[in-house]
């Protein structure tokens, strides 16, 4: 083979360039610490780097979301704990207040503390997160979940939840397609407004019961009439206490179930069974020796509104209008409504000895009927559209009763020297109104429910938090794996690269040295 100077030069140059190029590449890698400088260095690894980095971004995101969810759940946990503490304190106060030896001033102080607890509970319910959203507001993050209505003195009278809904879940993604709820629904914590154990209502009731006027230890049982103001059947009409155990009275002397077994013996009731205030009072008084509680019947009052009367051209015959079992017979055809009304009042009062009902003219064409001894006021009118039904309309009823119907009952006022409670067990709840003692006792029972309800969200939050711990651990492990993968894909194995660099350098130096001595050689050196 013929070798020429130019070809040697070109060859040497090419080899040196190649060596220098390899060294420059190693140097680039060493300087940047990266194995992949351009996609062509390893196209498959470059693609995997992108996909792996995408996954790592997601895992990091999930870790942040887990932290955020834990933060929120932790806040919820603390808030629920604070609420539980507050309810516990309220129970202590209620127990103190339920003690007969406490005087009114001390009870008022308790009421003030309960009021503070109530304010605190509302504040807890409306707790805001640093970013301004509400812990128990669900997805309604710009409106407070609970709004308190206040009276003139600034005291909370009712707390209502946001009508747009507060229980929609707020979630965070913590893994592929895995959502975790980052909060607790307000209703789960505080109860629904319709519940007897709605936390705010219970506290309000407790406060008001403690704060009740201290004019003797009294309690009033309001007895619901059979019909309401329009004549329609009233819900929860009082049926009397004829069943054993309908009414429990725990008085200073002891506890007794009141039962009225002899409605026919009631001398004044006109309907059976005896459901009047006077009969109920008598039954309670029968047990006074056991309970130490005495009862007084208060009058039954029926008010006829002014616009109701039709005192024109009516002649009431026997059977047209029966008041407490006595026919009211009267001629109202003078053509003057006011005069007719007065005539009617006089006619009723003429029968007072039999009916026990006294009539009085009211404002305009109105009037009131009063049974002052506490007996019921019962009315019956003739059927059909004759004067009888017109007589019913005199009472202001759209559909006048055709059988004897109690339109008004008195109430029963209970009193004792010391605190007592009444508990009404009749399912339809014919007794309405609570005395102070009963209010505290009832609130105490409800507070227990409030407290019990808190256990569930607390357990839920605890479970969710420990689950998040698990997820976080797993995420951290995956994060480490991904970092290792990425490092393997794109980072330089430095010791090896240094070693290879040294080898490349050595080869380059050898090429330099050999080519230098080769190029120097020439026949000229040896020719004279």
């Amino acid at each position: 083979m013929r070798v020429t100077n130019l070809s040697i030069g070109a060859q040497v140059l090419r080899e040196l360039q190649r060596g220098l190029g390899a060294m420059a590449r190693r140097q680039d890698q060493l300087a940047s610490g990266r194995r992949l400088l351009t996609p062509s260095d390893d196209p498959a690894a470059s693609a995997r780097v992108i996909v792996t980095r995408d996954r790592r971004a997601a895992v990091e995101q999930w870790a942040r979301n887990i932290a955020e969810a834990r933060d929120r759940l932790g806040s919820a946990d603390q808030t629920i704990q604070s609420l539980a503490d507050a309810v516990t304190r309220a129970r202590e106060l209620a127990v103190q207040g339920n003690n007969a030896t406490l005087d009114g001033v001390a009870r008022a102080a308790l009421a003030r503390e309960i009021d503070q607890i109530l304010e605190g509970a509302v504040a807890l319910a409306n707790e805001q997160r640093p970013r301004g959203d509400f812990l128990f507001g669900g997805q309604e993050s710009t409106r407070p979940p609970y709004v308190a209505a206040r009276d003139a003195a600034g005291r909370i009278t009712a707390v209502t939840p946001n009508p747009r809904g507060i229980d929609a879940e707020r979630t965070a993604e913590v893994d592929d397609d895995l959502l975790v709820s980052t909060g607790v629904a307000g209703t789960e914590v505080f109860g629904a407004p319709a519940d007897t154990s709605y936390a705010f209502a219970v506290l309000i009731r407790l406060r008001d019961s403690l704060d009740a006027d201290e004019a003797g230890v009294v309690q009033t049982l309001g007895l619901t009439a059979d019909v309401d103001g329009t004549g329609a059947a009233a819900a929860g009409a009082y049926l009397g206490v004829d069943a054993a155990g309908d009414l429990e009275i725990a008085g200073p002397a002891g506890t007794a179930f009141v039962r009225l077994t002899i409605p026919a013996d009631d001398p004044v009731s006109t309907t059976a069974p005896a459901t009047s205030a006077i009969a109920t009072a008598a039954a309670i008084n029968d047990a006074t020796a056991i309970t130490g509680v005495t009862a007084v019947a208060t009058p039954a009052v029926f008010t006829v509104p002014s616009a109701a009367g039709l005192f024109d051209d009516i002649a009431l015959a026997a059977g047209d209008l029966v008041l407490n079992g006595v026919d009211v017979v009267v001629n109202l055809t003078t053509g003057n409504a006011a005069a007719n009304r007065d005539t009617f009042v006089a006619a009723v009062n003429a029968l007072s000895g039999q009916t026990g009902v006294i009539a009085a003219a009211g404002a305009g064409l109105g009037m009131t009927l009063t049974a002052s001894d506490g007996r019921n006021i019962a009315v019956q009118t003739a059927a059909g559209s004759g004067p009888g039904s017109v007589a019913g309309e005199i009472l202001g009823f759209a559909a006048p009763p055709t059988s004897a119907t109690v339109v008004a009952r008195g109430s029963v006022r209970l009193s004792a020297g010391e605190l007592f409670t009444t508990t009404e067990f009749n399912a339809t709840g014919q007794v309405s109104g609570e005395g102070r003692a009963g209010g505290i006792g009832g609130a105490l029972a409800d507070l227990a429910d409030v407290q019990d309800r808190l256990l569930e969200p607390q357990a839920l939050v605890g479970a969710r938090l420990s689950w998040l711990d698990l997820l976080e651990e797993r995420g951290a492990a995956e994060s480490v794996d991904l970092a290792a993968t990425l490092s393997r894909l794109e980072d330089l194995d430095v010791p090896r690269a240094v070693q290879e660099f040294e080898q490349t350098k050595l080869a380059y130096e050898a090429a330099l040295a050999s080519s230098a001595s080769l190029l120097r050689l020439s026949l000229l050196d040896f020719l004279r």
Binding site: N5, D54, G132
Partner: protein, 555 residues
């Protein structure tokens, strides 16, 4: 009978011949480092009958097969080398610095994830809009660079066409001079110059050379055989950019020419080949951008932001309100399904709750308008092919589940505008008012809860959704594929370039073996010629002495 003077003649010829050999050696040594120089050799021939020696001719030592091979390899190596350089430039656009498109995409996903947890945080909304803008800008930037690269390549090709034309002219001129000399003397050095020009030409454009009897050469384009130089005539290569396809077109006269090898072939192939790396990257990038726009808008248009507009106007116009929406020139035509729109009063309560049915290929924009306008709390009108919806005074519009992609297709309640990498941008409504970012979804009653981040979460869910390549690849996966394809192209180009360079070097080395100057060899030739010259001189001296002797005999 021979004359003694004839012996002197022999010596004189020998002196002359060896001087010429010495000159040739000197010329060779002088040009030992001249590129393209072919070593010359003085061919000595004995002159019969016994009349000494003469230089028959001074030849260039060449091998015509190697010449042709060298020309071909030069073209190939230039093609592969230029292509490698171009693909490397392309690769640099997708080089992995962690700040590429994938990082921008990840930024958007992170922002909407964060937003899904805190939808009411105004700072996060701003961040999300900025991330979206950055993503759009990244797409535009890469697309712009690809476009600029395409333009640069056209300019580069234009400059190379000028070089080609200059070379063609020079070759024709050298042809003319060589022919004019008619072999007296043999114009070896002009031929070397011509060969160098041809070699340079082969680097730009594949050529084939044929030698004519009169010493001129004909140059034709490799592959097509179009005549570029014949004798003293040179053709002119012209280049234009096809206004329709944007591709480079080369012509000689009226005949189109496709460079087979050389730098021009590399540029045209890299730039214009639909399967080439540049066009492939542009197509991939556009497909990715379109996928991002389509998917984000599809989800975004089904949600509602913190602030509801009182009126909206579609950004995309249809060509005809009476034509089915699928054939109305929309970038993203709606399919079949329903689109829900709710009118809220100032307090956020529901006034109207509409579900507009859309059937692909049937429903027209006019149908949509009529359906909307039929509601007492809405007014809808079409102006310039764009749908405008206005809520009753004091009321506002909220958008719900849009299974047909109706609103996204019309350009209402979108996150991105545009349909490819070049035109991608954040919707101006959202950019101006980040509260319009649709993070929430209407609940069953048509109410919007500001703390609802479910739509933002659905946007974040696009990270793992396989929406590209016929539902087989995620957005990031597709981008990874793009980078891998560019990387593979770079690797192939690099390997091809190396192979071609090696082949060229080998051919060059063969060529140098034949035609290169070896100084050692020349020195030996020099020594030989010196000795021959000295011998001839001695011969002349000897003859002179013989003549002196003869003359002395005579006196």
């Amino acid at each position: 009978v021979t004359s003694i003077l004839r012996s002197l003649d022999i010596g004189g010829r020998a002196l002359l011949a060896h001087q010429q050999v010495l000159n040739t050696v000197g010329h060779n040594l002088a040009n030992a480092a001249t590129p393209g120089y072919t070593r010359q050799r003085a061919e000595l021939t004995p002159l019969p009958p016994q009349r000494g020696v003469e230089v028959a001719e001074i030849i260039r030592v060449r091998d015509v097969f190697l010449d042709a091979a060298l020309l071909e390899e030069t073209g190939r190596a230039s093609l592969a080398g230029t292509r490698h350089g171009l693909v490397q430039r392309l690769e640099a656009l997708f080089a992995d610095e962690g700040v590429g498109l994938d990082a921008s995409l990840a930024g958007v996903f992170q922002a909407v994830q964060d937003l899904s947890i805190h939808p009411t945080d105004p700072a996060l909304r701003l961040v999300t809009v900025q991330e979206a803008e950055q993503l759009a800008a990244a797409f535009r930037q890469v697309a712009g660079r690809l476009d600029r690269m395409s333009a640069d390549l056209a300019a580069d090709a234009g400059a190379r066409v000028d070089v080609v034309n200059r070379l063609l002219g020079q070759i024709a001129e050298l042809n003319e001079r060589i022919v004019a000399l008619r072999g007296q003397p043999v114009p070896n050095d002009l031929m070397d110059q011509r060969d160098a020009r041809v070699s340079e030409l082969a680097g730009q454009l594949g050529v084939v050379v044929s030698v004519r009897d009169n010493g001129s050469i004909g140059v034709t384009a490799a592959g097509s055989g179009i005549m570029l130089v014949e004798g003293a005539r040179a053709a002119t290569l012209a280049m234009s950019v096809d206004p329709g396809t944007g591709r480079l077109a080369f012509q000689v006269g009226d005949a189109p020419l496709t460079p087979a090898t050389g730098a021009l072939a590399a540029i045209a192939g890299t730039r214009d080949d639909p399967a080439g790396p540049l066009q492939q990257a542009i197509a991939d990038l556009d497909a990715l951008a379109r996928g991002v726009v389509e998917e984000f808008n599809r989800v975004h248009a089904s949600g509602t932001g913190l602030v509801e507009p009182a009126a909206v106007t579609a950004l995309d116009a249809v060509t005809s309100a009476a034509a089915p929406l699928t054939a109305a020139g929309l970038d993203f035509p709606p399919g079949t399904g329903t689109a829900r729109i709710v009118v809220h009063d100032a307090g956020g309560a529901v006034l109207s709750d509409l579900s507009i049915p859309v059937t692909a290929g049937v429903t027209t924009l006019e149908d949509v308008r009529a359906a909307l306008d039929g509601d007492p709390n809405l007014t809808a009108a079409i102006s310039g092919g764009r749908l405008a919806i206005t809520a009753a005074p004091g009321a506002s519009l909220a958008f719900g589940a849009d299974s047909a992609g109706l609103f996204a297709g019309l350009g209402i309640n979108r996150l991105f505008t545009g349909s490819d990498a070049r035109s991608m941008a954040v919707d101006p409504d959202v950019a101006a008012n980040p509260a319009r970012l649709a993070t929430a979804r209407l609940d069953a009653d048509g109410l919007v809860h500001p703390g609802d981040g479910s739509n933002a979460l659905a946007l974040a869910g696009l990270r793992t959704a396989k929406v590209l390549s016929g539902g087989t690849e995620t957005l990031a996966g597709f981008y990874a594929g793009l980078v891998a394809r560019v990387g593979t192209a770079g690797r192939q180009a690099s390997q091809a370039s190396e192979q071609a360079a090696t082949a060229l070097a080998l051919t060059q080395s063969f060529h140098a073996q034949v035609s290169g100057v070896s100084t050692d060899e020349e020195l030996i030739a020099l020594t030989q010629a010196q000795h021959a010259y000295a011998a001839a001189a001695r011969f002349v001296t000897t003859i002179d002495e013989v003549i002196q002797t003869l003359l002395a005999m005579a006196s």
